[in-house]
């Protein structure tokens, strides 16, 4: 089966407090440490697990981003993805979810993707609107918020997270599957994987390669406009103490003072 996983490179959520540039109104990406989205690592792991169960399948990572995203793609390859496609083009800067989905779906269509994995949402933008839009552009079904996924013949079956528990949902292939964060154990790249990643196929594409009009993607095609960027309201400073062995009593005193016990 032709399996694909859509991935993103983002400012490291564990070390970077992400900021917006007041002039460009875009995410500040320069001078910060960029990583493969940790949510995507879960998704890639889920896809690799399924690929290995199915056999006779190939898993390709697809990414839209600047050339620096090559590094994130190499991590995906080191984890066990078979090949990588990076769409990079100056006209893509400032793309919103819809623009991103247009580009990714063009790649997936061209490649004849049969099963497409995405994370439920990215860890920087959080819109979660890309996978559904990809499914719509491709005219196929999406199984969302999956915490389990299997393929039986031409059907994909997922356990979809709900408010009360989960649903078992089924659709015919091709389909988009979105993986809920933390649902699959992450695969860590081995030294062999890292060395082997260098030899795996890595394709770079531009908008022209995909036949996409630059006017419908990037900032030109964005359907959300930022009017202003302000400062968040700060909470009144609280009381901070150093633990000297009696912290439990002090916390309990605080709780009693505000009738929280």
């Amino acid at each position: 089966m032709k399996m694909f996983v859509c991935v993103k490179q983002i400012p490291d959520p564990n070390t970077v407090v992400s900021k917006l540039d007041p002039n460009t109104k875009r995410l500040v990406r320069s001078g910060v440490s960029l990583v493969l989205d940790p949510g995507d690592e879960t998704t890639i792991s889920a896809a690799i697990k399924l690929r290995d169960t199915l056999g006779n399948s190939e898993l390709t990572a697809v990414c839209m981003g600047p050339t620096s995203a090559q590094e994130a793609m190499r991590r995906a390859l080191a984890m066990g993805v078979d090949r990588a496609i990076l769409v990079t083009d100056p006209a893509l800067g400032g793309s919103d979810a819809l623009g991103t989905a247009r580009v990714l779906s063009a790649v997936l269509k061209k490649e004849g993707a049969e099963l497409i994995f995405c994370s439920t949402e990215s860890t920087d933008g959080y819109t979660g609107m890309v996978p559904g839009a990809i499914a719509e552009f491709l005219g196929i079904a999406q199984l969302s918020f999956a915490r389990e996924i299997k393929v039986e013949g031409q059907k994909a079956i997922a356990h979809r997270v709900t408010q009360a528990g989960y649903q078992v949902v089924e659709t015919n292939l091709p389909a988009v599957v979105t993986i809920a964060s933390g649902s699959f154990e992450a695969i860590y790249p081995t030294m062999k994987g890292i060395m082997g990643a260098k030899k795996k196929p890595f394709v770079q594409m531009t908008l022209a390669d995909l036949g996409i009009d630059a006017a419908i993607v990037g900032e030109a095609g964005a359907r959300e406009q930022v009017l202003a960027i302000g400062q968040a309201e700060a909470r009144a400073a609280g009381q901070i103490i150093k633990d000297e062995g009696d912290s439990a009593q002090k916390i309990a005193d605080f709780l009693e003072r505000y009738q929280l016990l």
């Binding site: 959520p13 564990n14 407090v17 992400s18 900021k19 917006l20 879960t42 919103d96 979810a97 819809l98 439920t120 860890t123 959080y126 819109t127 979660g128 609107m129 996978p131 559904g132 839009a133 719509e136 079904a141 999406q142 969302s144 079956i157 979809r160 997270v161 009360a164 528990g165 649903q167 949902v169 089924e170 659709t171 015919n172 964060s181 933390g182 649902s183 992450a186 359907r223 959300e224 009017l227 202003a228 960027i229 400062q231 968040a232 309201e233 909470r235 609280g238 009381q239 901070i240 103490i241 150093k242 633990d243 912290s247 439990a248 002090k250 916390i251 309990a252 709780l255 929280l260 016990l261």
Partner: protein, 322 residues
Amino acid sequence: MTKTIWTLVEIEYGQPARSSLEVLSKAAKLGRAEAIVLGAEAAKVAPLLGEYGAAKVYAHSDATYDNYLTLPAVDALSALLQANQPDLLLLPTTYDARDIAARLNARLNLGLITDATDLQYDGDTLKVTVPWGGENVVTATHPHGGLGIVLARPKAFSVEKVEGNTAEIETLNIPFQSASQCIKVLERIEEKSEGPALEEASVIVSGGRGLGKAENYKLVEELATVLGGAPGATRAIVDAGWLPYSHQIGQTGKTVKPTLYIACGISGAIQHLAGMKGSKYIVAINKDEHAPIFSAADFGVVGDALTILPQLTAEVKKRKAH
């Protein structure tokens, strides 16, 4: 001019979902609120919505919406939106609404703004408030005018009744396309957890990576139990597989507003703060005095949660016994 704001009302156990009523209440304040309700119990739910400010309700009672995900609702909404041209579709951030919004946005080439905590009209310009990265608040709009979608953060708005208001009900009879009945719900499984649900709990004790390892999370659960609260988690430890996704609090995961939130070994990443900053009282225990969680805390202890948690559980037990 009065704006017409639509919302899709989801049904839970035969009642309108609370998250839907939150956005319906907000819509009624912004202009003329109209609700769409789809599913086997739509006719039963429709008359209840006037009370929450709906001027009109479009109802289609058919189990197809319950048995097949996303696409039947997208088809119905798409046809209705094009025929009636409201100014805005305001949706709560729920599992189903997110799926529907993503497809509708692509199908109709609309504008879409997610994670809104407030919105208003300044003349004809929609202004949507979106918290961004902890330090910033962005005001966003749909640039080309016309119909757009806004997804509101859970609990951003309160449910408010409009006394004496009744809604005009239009019964829909939209034909279904067989191609759209392609995501079939085979089974629904409810997972009961002990104690109060996270969204309902007035006390939440939450754990993060500072607990060191999965086994230590039981210290969080023990304190939650003696306080009659619910245990929560950061995305980091959910990603690490310590706990299921249902425990996750944050921008991804659940948004909670308990009376008391106790954060244990949580550094306070933006993603987590976004989900719990609305708590009335926040207590934080963390080894790192520079952890951002302390800027949100009413009472903070710089110390090891592993040592302090069992002492606090014992102390609370003792004081409650008196």
